[in-house]
Every structure is written in C-alpha cells, then in structure tokens.
C-alpha cells in the first residue's frame, strides 16, 4: 500500500513537473515524463501493473491537461500494458534497451492518441509537424529514461523500508 502511494506520488509529481517545467522548455518537442514512467513501470512490473499505472497517470494528465477525461487514460493504459507485455522478450539492462523502448512507446502513444482524437471527433490533427514532433519527442523521452528509472527505484526502495515502532515511540516521548 505504501509503495502504491509512493508510486502515485511520483506520478503526481511527474504530472506537475510535466505541466510546470517540461512543457515550457524551449525544445522542439516537450518530453513526456509520465509516459516514460509508465513505460518503466510496465517493463519492470508487467502488463497489469503497467496498465494500472498507465490509467492512473493518464487520469492525472487528463485532469491537468484540460481535455476530456479519458484520452490520456487510454493512451497511457495501452502504452503501459504494451510495455508490460514485452518485458519478457526485452533485455532492459542493455544500454540501448530503454532507449528503444522509449522510442517505441512514444510512437505507440502518439498513434493511440491520434486514433482516440480522431475517433472521438475531438478535433483535427496537425499532421505536418507530427512526424517531427514524434522524432524529437522520442529523443527527449529516451533521454529521460534513466532519471525516471532512478526515481522509480527510489520510490520502491523507500516503499519497502520498515520503521521500528519502538524508535517512533521513543521519539514521541521525547
């Protein structure tokens, strides 16, 4: 439970960092920290947890983004599940492994998002810059893979730590 809360906190923090910082960087395409976290969780934890993490991340992103709630839920859910489904066939510790996964996840996320927007009739898609944004976004996301993994490892480590109740009581008495 504690680990789930911590991971939720990490996702919430990533949502805010995405909105407040990364989206404002003067880059060709903004990196998608949430997508990278979802992919990392999916690869490490499998299909179900990847999907759950994706749904949670998507919900947070939908709330902050201001669009119809459900678009990012679908996108990240599919990406998280897909990342989880390929975990057995990938060597995630290979130096280029995470980069390839991040690139593939960016392409998949963009494709799913475009499909959802078109299917739901949410508006026209800017096709011309899409390819460029896809390439630049994949590169940016690949750069974020290692920091995202580090953040997740930290959350999991902190989530598994046990605190002796006696020490807490002692501190409480003082």
């Amino acid at each position: 439970m504690r680990r789930a809360l911590l991971l939720g906190g990490v996702l919430a923090l990533a949502t805010m960092v995405d909105g407040a910082w990364l989206s404002r960087l003067p880059l060709p395409a903004a990196p998608d920290l949430l997508l990278v976290l979802v992919v990392a969780l999916g690869v490490r934890r499998g299909v179900a947890q990847g999907a759950v993490a994706g749904a949670a991340a998507g919900y947070l992103r939908d709330l902050v983004a201001g669009g119809p709630v459900g678009v990012y839920v679908l996108v990240y859910l599919v990406v998280g599940a897909a990342a989880g489904s390929v975990m057995a066939s990938l060597d995630v510790d290979h130096p280029t492994g995470p980069l390839v996964i991040a690139g593939a996840a960016t392409v998949l996320g963009t494709a799913v998002g475009a499909g959802v927007v078109l299917a739901a009739g949410l508006g026209p898609l800017p096709w011309s810059p899409l390819a460029w944004q896809l390439t630049a976004g994949a590169t940016m996301n690949a750069l974020l893979v290692r920091p995202a993994e580090a953040a997740l490892r930290w959350a999991e480590r902190v989530g598994q730590r046990r605190y002796p109740a006696r020490a807490l009581r002692f501190r409480g008495v003082r």
Binding site: M16, V17, G19, V52, A55, L60, L63, G66, G67, V69
Partner: protein, 286 residues
Amino acid sequence: MASTVHRTTLTRMHDGRRRWLVVGVLLLGALALLTSQVRRPDRRVVGPLGTLVLSVLAPVQGVLARGADAVARFWQLYTEIGRLRAENTRLREEVQRLSGEVGRLREQAQATQRLERLLAFRQQLPGRALGARVIGRDSRAWFAVLLVDRGARDGVRRNDPVVAAEGLVGRVLTVTSGSAQVLLISDPRSAVGVILQQSREAGVVEGQGQRLLRLKYVSREREIPLGETVVTSGHGGLYPRGIPVGTVVSVVREQAALYQEALIRPSVRLDHVEEVLILVEGSPDR
C-alpha cells in the same frame, strides 16, 4: 510430478488471463469514461474525485510554475547579459575601428593642408623644389638632424636648402642614394646669413641646440624691434634670398659689445615638421 507441473502451468495461465482481464476491464472503463465525456456539451466533466485531486495538485503545480518562472527569468537575464556582453565587445571593436578611421582621416586632412601650404610656398621659390617626407629624427635630441626620404638618385646634393611652408628648415648634411640627412637651423653647427625684414640690418642666425635661435653680429646703430621677421639674406651662397627664418622674441644689448644680439623663434616648428621641400636647383653654391 506430472500433476504438479500441470498445476503450475494452469496457475500461470490463470495469472496471465487475470492480468489481461485487468487490462481489459481498465480499457473498457477508460472507453466508457471517454464516451461519457465526449457526449457532454463541454466534453469534460472532472467529477468530485477529479476536483479533489486537482485541488491538491494545483497549488503544488503553482509553486513549481513559480520556480520555473524564476529559473526562466534568471536564464533570460543570464542570456541577456551574455548577449549584451557580446554586443558590448562588438561595439567596442566598432568604436576602436571608427576611432582609428577618424584618426587616419584627420591625419590625412592635416597632411593635405600641410602639403597645400607647401605647394603654395613652392610656387614662390626659385628653381626646382623636391617634396620630401621626414622619415626619422634623433630621439635623444642631441643633434638637430632630420632624415628625409629623398636622396642622390632624386637629385639631392649636399648643402641643398631645405624649407617648409612656413620658412627655412635647414640644409642637407649628408646624402645617400635614397635618403638625406638635414641639418636643422637649430643645430649648433648651423649658421645662416640673414637680414631683418624691416630694418634691413644684416646678421647671422646660429643654432643653440634649443628651441630658440640666436641672431648675432647685428649692428648696434639701430634697435631691433621685437616681433621683427628675419629672412635669409642670400649672402654666402647656400640659401636663396628672402626665406623666412623666424621672428625676434628678445634682444640682448650689452654695453661693451660691438654688436647686438637677439633670440629668434623659428618660423617652422622644427620638432614637428613632417614634409619639407628640398631646393635641388637654384642654390648657387654647395
């Protein structure tokens, strides 16, 4: 043993199905959520949970955004400083270049003025005059000698008179093929036969190694007025007649002396002269 393996395989399959079931349920839920949203007029309903989450996230995001603003402002300032520094360097270089250009043009204008005066003076001189540029002088000022860029191959000979637009400079001391040394009238080795322009009294102007010259051997019969112009007399054969030498700035009359003397300020600023004329013809004897 076989039944254990069979049971394990079944368990794995069951787990796999359960995972995909979770994914399927989530997908259905997401689709249902999206469908319900899209049907609304605003295409967005956040709901109580969303409102709660947003109310928690928004302040934190505000703090992060303010931090980002501060960083952005700092970065903007930093880049602006860098840009200003580069522009400042460029402008300094531009100012230096333009200052050099102004100095060069000013120098050119002054040289033109000097040459114009020299040319006008040249028209009044007898014989052929050769323009020469001063290319050196003794830095210690022990000797009042100039080096000019004309020599024997230009027709310059020893003892040729050297003048500037304002008056007499000196005479050629030594000649090489491409240059000549000019002994200035301020050198102690120099002596020039002169007359006072108004009184027509004759005398000799000698150099003292200083800025002022000394006028000697002037008859005591008439007083030398201050400010009187002294010109070459043409006696002695070195210098043509009538070239300004200087003006009287003070007179020395000693009781027991046979002659009176005076201090003369040269017409030409000998320490600043840059272009001269060498009278290569018309000076009768060398």
